[in-house]
Symmetry: C2
C-alpha cells in the first residue's frame, strides 16, 4: 500500500523524544514545498535525530512527528537559525493554526505483518 519500506519509522529504544506538530495550512503556500524539503534535509544533520513520520489529509490536517534521542537533540533543532526563520515564515504565511506537543517516550511497540 506504500512504496517506502521505512514507513512508519521506529519503534526506538526508550527513552527518546517526540515532537508532534499538527497543522492546518492557509491557501498561501508559495515557497512551502522548497522550505519543507530543505528542513527535512537539515534535520538529518542534527546529532540524535532518529527519524520522522508525516501524513497529510488532502485539504485537511497535516501531522509531522519528529523523533529525537534526547532533549538536547530536540533543542538543537528547535533553535537552529535556518529552522527558526522557517518557523517565522510559517506563522506569517503558511499556517492557519498549529499545535506542537513535545513529549518523552516511555514505551513503544511495532508490528510488521508476518
Amino acid at each position: 500500500m506504500i512504496d517506502d519500506p521505512q514507513a512508519p519509522v521506529g519503534p526506538f529504544e526508550p527513552p527518546y523524544y517526540v515532537a508532534v506538530f499538527t497543522t492546518v495550512r492557509t491557501s498561501e503556500q508559495s515557497g512551502y514545498g522548497e522550505t519543507n524539503a530543505r528542513m527535512e534535509e537539515l534535520v538529518k544533520q542534527v546529532p540524535g535525530y532518529l527519524g520522522m513520520d508525516h501524513a497529510q489529509t488532502p485539504g485537511g490536517l497535516g501531522i509531522t512527528v519528529g523523533y529525537f534521542r534526547d532533549a538536547e537533540a530536540l533543542a538543537q533543532w528547535r533553535t537552529d537559525a535556518e529552522h527558526r526563520a522557517a518557523q517565522r515564515r510559517g506563522r506569517a504565511e503558511w499556517y492557519e493554526r498549529y499545535t506542537l506537543h513535545v513529549a518523552k517516550v516511555e514505551r513503544s511497540t511495532g508490528f510488521t505483518r508476518p
Copy 2:
C-alpha cells in the same frame, strides 16, 4: 482550508500523555471504517480522554494521535475489551505495519492566525 474549527486539538496543560499510532494499511479494509467509527465513539467515554488528531496520506501513511490526561486514562483505553478485539482484528486484517509511541508531554504550544 479545513471545516472543523477544532482541528488540530490542543494545546493542553502539561503534563499529559500522547499515544502516537503510525500505520500502513493492507488492501483488506473490509469492516475497518465501521470499527474505526466505533472506536472514536468509545474512546470519548474514557475519563481523562482529551482529544484526537488524525491525518491520512492517500495510499500512504496514517497517523492518529490520542491525548489523555494521565497514564491511568491511557491504560483504561488500552485494556478496554472492545478496543482489544479491534486491535487483534487490525493485526489480522487491516495493518501491514504499525508503530505505537506512548509519551508524556512536557511542553506544548499553539498558534492561531490573528
